[in-house]
Symmetry: C2
Subunit: 328 residues, 2 copies
Amino acid sequence: MKLATEKSESPDGRLLVVSSDLSSTVAATGIAASLQEALDRWDAVSGPLASLYAALNTGDALGIRPLPWQQLTAPLPRAWQWLDGSAYPSHGELMQRAYDLPPIETSAPLMYQGMSHEFLGPYADVPFPSEEDGIDFECELGIITARVPLGTTARAARNCVRLLIQINDWSLRALAPAEMKTGFGWIQAKPACSLAPIALTPDEIGPLWRDNRICATVEVWRGAEAFGAVPATEMAFGFDELIAHAARTRALCPGTVIGSGTVSSRAHRETGSCCIAERRAIEKLDCGEPRTPFLRFGERVRCQARGQGFAQPLFGVMDQRVIDAHSR
Amino acid sequence: MKLATEKSESPDGRLLVVSSDLSSTVAATGIAASLQEALDRWDAVSGPLASLYAALNTGDALGIRPLPWQQLTAPLPRAWQWLDGSAYPSHGELMQRAYDLPPIETSAPLMYQGMSHEFLGPYADVPFPSEEDGIDFECELGIITARVPLGTTARAARNCVRLLIQINDWSLRALAPAEMKTGFGWIQAKPACSLAPIALTPDEIGPLWRDNRICATVEVWRGAEAFGAVPATEMAFGFDELIAHAARTRALCPGTVIGSGTVSSRAHRETGSCCIAERRAIEKLDCGEPRTPFLRFGERVRCQARGQGFAQPLFGVMDQRVIDAHSR
């Protein structure tokens, strides 16, 4: 099943069922008004949504129309909980070298709680207060959970993955190290993330959903420049383990968004990177200093995820412009 | 104005206006269904709520009934954003000594984003998975914000404080240091907080709302033992500054909850403490080792805030029992 959210009067938007080939859609009106509502009532609505999806794909549903890409918001325009992992060891290692941080000594998954009262849509301008803050993107993959009871094991957590998504976790690199050093995690360095327009049930990507990981290739362009095309296979923990980590002492609400952290590969010299900071780290190691500047106002960042055997980007495309928050 | 939330079919509960003497109430039905809705539409609803409050206090409102204390939930049973400060230097200094942490080098307020999809009510049992995790309370004061634009200054933030509240930020001390060392903040060490039942507009506490601080005394009992009676005056940053810190790179949604961090005093030998960890730190300094154990299942924790000239606890009372999550 493929789902999206269309702008509406409601801050949660209107839930759309999207055809398998991403060409057409039908509103889920009468089943669930919003994706959050669908997640809250999943056992009751997933059957009717699946039936509607089947009818849409055969052209038998009522109210079929072309998918209004430009009207799509984030699948969840807001969520009650956003927990971002950092599950790609290659990224962590490079960042530590770049920012001269001591290695993080833990065998547990890394995870912080981030801002979730707004997820930007895939084509929304991204406002920042200053170019001096080191504006960067972080292309990630993620999941949206079911209700997860406290103490859920990784094994049981496999059944708590409702939807797969793609995320751009915008980051402010000039602010991040100082916040990290406090031990309290990031507030200023991590404003709102963006979500790609299409959310998928895991069955939609077939063998690419493997070992509780999304084994796609994440592609990112900075303006016209191909910045990275990074296979997302090197995740040290699966999403099952990330869920279990988060649920060790708390129950997770339906619609909890969990991120993989920046996709990264040990073969980064061939694949490129999913964030500027990582490329700067590589430049520092290679040339003694970082050369690639962070983003300036007016620059565009485009990202998508490709999977072998799939003609279309799995989650649609995010294509956004970085702007001066004070100019709005 | 004094507000509370009563259990209802809705996860956000039903908004109540509470009389000045905390004896009686009238539902805000017809003005706003829930506190979150009132905060979302504050400019439209604050006048009608104030009129209803006035009529309730003179006995002229329709539908007046005794305040149903046991039916009260957290004023916000859930929120889109919870940002907890750590603004009492005395607490930070003692914790660093207790947990052998290096001093945190920052001139900015300390703040992390915590779990907000559930705030426990003032009499709810508090479930934890294991007594081995070092179960502790942290009695704090806090505010609930208006919508706060990105880049709001501390001066402008004064007008963004909608309501004052009291918080118990339950913490798991055996898990906290390892999470803090990652730099990512706390997930496992900080499950759901509890909120005291009554939320107040700042004018309700008159001179006790001073310099953007709640100058009350926070009292806490562990079972029958008076554990602390700590004046909340030593906050290094006012709530105006905490708001401005959070809003440096993000807009805050209406209903953002911001906490002071554990209330603490340099005179802690006279005042006692608002958490067990702090007393253990003092014991370690005095006797070479901590002596006070963390909480066991079945123990009760009661806390409230007192203000000079006020007969009643300002925010009502939280009185909760710690329980084994697996026994529910």
